[in-house]
Every structure is written in structure tokens, then in C-alpha cells.
């Protein structure tokens, strides 16, 4: 086989590649955060029906999208870990879930603070809100299962299976607003026919997307690198004791 997927699952190669990319990721994250927040908060128009509250969108929408994108990435990593037993993909799944949980919480939190002035309620049990809350519980269950066993390998396997089962929830979140009557409005961004957002608002939103993606990549790299280094330290200590 000319193409060997194992080449990417090599921790040494990952350390080299992520070390090379890290300064760029940091730079992109800082620049897009500064530019995105400036446009989102100061230099973008108000909305014709929501007024200034529309600025919550610039945090809420990217956070909600990241919560689903990270879950899908985690499910792919878990599947690769379960099927092909790549240790690096197990590690990636483990490092992703707290970041995904944080974005899910951010989406729910900003959504609640947006819902009160616009809809007139902090929370309702409609299909969109409920399935997003379920996503938060899936992330927390994943983290709990990882640490629930004395044997880390068993924890990894159980958490991986939970993650794969939970991936069913992703299309439910995305299409809940089309399949059922919900209080949450239908999709504005990823929908048939293109976005229903004016370009003056779409550009800051795109910058915030880059900012959130950069932040996710940055934190994921740092977490994975420190996990790899600490396992190396453990191995060296063991060798020292037994050697």
C-alpha cells in the first residue's frame, strides 16, 4: 500500500508537525479574534428586528457550530481508535471532549441570554434546545467514562462507543428546526439557497468562525502535545527505576 495512514498516527511525527504549525495557529487565532470581535461588537450594523442584541450571534452561532463539528471529529477519531487501534486517535478524542463541552456550554449560555430579550424566555424544551443540551450531556458522559475505569484502555473503549452512539444526535440537532415546530428559528447560515444573512454581518461572522476554529486547533494541539510529553516522561521514569 503506497498510502500508509499510520504515517499520520505516529506521535513523533505529530509532535514535529504540530510544533511547526503551532506559531501559525497562534498568530491566526490572535488576529482573527481581535478583528472578529472588533467588527462584531463595534463595526457591524444592527439588525432590522433584533437591534443590538444581534451581536450575540457572533459568539452563539460559531460556538454552536463548533460544538457539532468537534463532536463529529471526536466520533471520527473514536471510530479510528476502536477499529484500527490508533493510539493517537484515542488521544485526540480524549483531548477534544472538554473543548467541545466548553463550546456547547457557551452556545447554550449565550442562547439563553439571547432568548430572554428576543423570545421572552430563558429556556424552552423545544427540539433544538433539548438536543443541544443532550450534546452537553454526551460530552460530559464521554469525559466521565474515560476516567471511570482503573484500566485506561477500558475507559477509552467505553467512551469511544458512547461517542459513536451519540453521533446520531448531530443530524437531530441540525435538522430539528426543519423536522419539528420549534421556537428556535430555522437555519440562517448552512441552508439550501445560501445564507439569509446580509454580507455586512456575514463577514464578521466568518472572522469569528476562523477565530473559534483557530482557538480549538490551538487548545487541541497544546493538550495533545502535553499528553504525549507526559507519557514520555512516565516511560523514562519507569526505565530509570527498573533500569
Amino acid at each position: 500500500m503506497a498510502f500508509n495512514i499510520n504515517a499520520f498516527a505516529n506521535p513523533k511525527r505529530f509532535m514535529w508537525l504540530s510544533g511547526l504549525l503551532l506559531p501559525w495557529v497562534i498568530g491566526i487565532t490572535i488576529i482573527t479574534t481581535a478583528a472578529g470581535l472588533y467588527f462584531a461588537l463595534f463595526d457591524s450594523p444592527t439588525d432590522y428586528q433584533q437591534g443590538e442584541t444581534v451581536r450575540i450571534m457572533y459568539i452563539h452561532v460559531p460556538a454552536a457550530s463548533m460544538s457539532m463539528i468537534i463532536y463529529i471529529s471526536m466520533a471520527v477519531a473514536s471510530a479510528m481508535g476502536l477499529i484500527w487501534k490508533h493510539p493517537l486517535s484515542d488521544l485526540a478524542a480524549k483531548c477534544m471532549s472538554p473543548i467541545g463541552a466548553a463550546f456547547t456550554f457557551l452556545a447554550l449560555f449565550t442562547g439563553s441570554f439571547w432568548g430572554k430579550p428576543m423570545w421572552g424566555t430563558w429556556w424552552v424544551w423545544d427540539a433544538r434546545l433539548t438536543s443541544e443540551l443532550l450534546l452537553l450531556f454526551l460530552y460530559m458522559g464521554h469525559m466521565a467514562l474515560l476516567n471511570a475505569f482503573d484500566d485506561p484502555a477500558r475507559g477509552t473503549k467505553s467512551a469511544g462507543i458512547l461517542c459513536l452512539v451519540g453521533v446520531i444526535n448531530i443530524p437531530i440537532i441540525k435538522f430539528s428546526v426543519d423536522w419539528w415546530n420549534t421556537l428556535h428559528q430555522p437555519a440562517s447560515l448552512v441552508k439550501a439557497g445560501g445564507p439569509a444573512i446580509h454580507p455586512d454581518m456575514l463577514i464578521p461572522l466568518g472572522l469569528m468562525f476562523l477565530c473559534f476554529t483557530g482557538y480549538f486547533t490551538l487548545v487541541l494541539f497544546i493538550r495533545m502535545r502535553s499528553e504525549i510529553i507526559s507519557s514520555k516522561v512516565r516511560a523514562l521514569r519507569l526505565r530509570h527505576v527498573h533500569g
Binding site: Y48, Q50, V54, I83, D126, W180, L183, Q185, A196
Partner: protein, 164 residues
């Protein structure tokens, strides 16, 4: 079969089975998952018992909003363009409550009138600056509640607004 291949098939079959189960369960529970019923759905259900709490949703019919003689009860009509239901609501209406806008009202039926104790605003998925909305309305290319995707794409935004 290699172990890896077998694990791959187990995962694929498992996910397909799970997807099918989820789809069947969600389809069966549809009436419990929907957040509200449209006026047409309510009328199809026949008589609603007066002790059954129900949520209805639709648009606030244009020209239907008024205050009752007591000065605190809001009276309006919810429509889905096919059928209508009158609503009485004592309390503060959300800021986004307007004629022609989406609304969800929750309460009990009394003589074919929904006496609501909670009214929530449901807004559409369009985002644009107020000047653009006004210009689009004036040009007749768009009205509230309609999707703006096409209007935005066809560039029905006046040039003098584009650099704003």
C-alpha cells in the same frame, strides 16, 4: 476476515441500526416533540378539553391586535394562512411581538378562544441592517416573514446602502 475489517463492519451495521431506531422513535413521538401546533392542526384535533394545556403557534394576523375593555388583556388572532385562532393574554408582550410576526401562545381553551398565560415571540432566520430591510420593503422585493436569500443574491440592495 481480518479483525480490523470485522470491527469496521460491526461499527457500520451498529450505526445504521441505531439510526433506524432513532428515526422510528422520533417519528412515533412526533406529537410530543413539536413545540406547538398550528391553528389547522388544532382544528383537526377537534374539541380541545378545557383542562388540557396547549401551545399554538403561527403569525399574528395583521390588524387583529387590540386591547380589551379592561385595559390589560391583549387580544389578537394567530393565523397559519389557512385557519385562525383568537388568543386572549393578560400580561406583557415580548419586544418582538408585532403584527405579521411569529408567535407562540400557551394556555387553555375557553369557548374556542385560547386564554394564554405565556406568549413568546418567534422571529425569522433573516439578518440584515434596518436600512436594507426598509429598502427591500420599499422596492417590493421582500416582505416581513419571507426569506431574503433570493433578494440578497439578486442584489436588490440599493447602491447607496452597499458601503454602509
Amino acid at each position: 476476515m481480518k479483525k480490523k475489517t470485522r470491527r469496521l463492519y460491526i461499527a457500520l451495521v451498529g450505526l445504521c441500526a441505531l439510526g433506524a431506531i432513532a428515526a422510528l422513535v422520533l417519528a412515533a413521538l412526533e406529537d410530543d416533540i413539536v413545540f406547538f401546533f398550528s391553528p389547522t392542526e388544532v382544528i383537526e384535533k377537534g374539541k380541545i378539553e378545557p383542562d388540557r394545556r396547549i401551545r399554538i403557534g403561527g403569525l399574528v394576523e395583521a390588524g387583529s391586535v387590540e386591547k380589551a375593555a379592561d385595559g390589560v388583556t391583549n387580544i389578537f388572532v394567530v393565523t397559519d394562512m389557512a385557519n385562525t385562532i383568537p388568543v386572549h393574554y393578560k400580561g406583557l408582550l415580548p419586544d418582538l411581538f408585532r403584527e405579521g410576526q411569529g408567535v407562540v401562545a400557551e394556555g387553555y381553551f375557553q369557548n374556542d378562544v385560547l386564554v394564554a398565560d405565556e406568549v413568546l415571540a418567534k422571529h425569522d432566520e433573516n439578518y440584515m441592517p434596518p436600512e436594507v430591510a426598509d429598502a427591500l420593503k420599499k422596492s417590493g422585493k421582500w416582505e416581513e416573514g419571507q426569506p431574503i436569500t433570493e433578494a440578497l443574491k439578486q442584489g436588490h440592495v440599493p447602491d447607496e446602502l452597499k458601503d454602509k
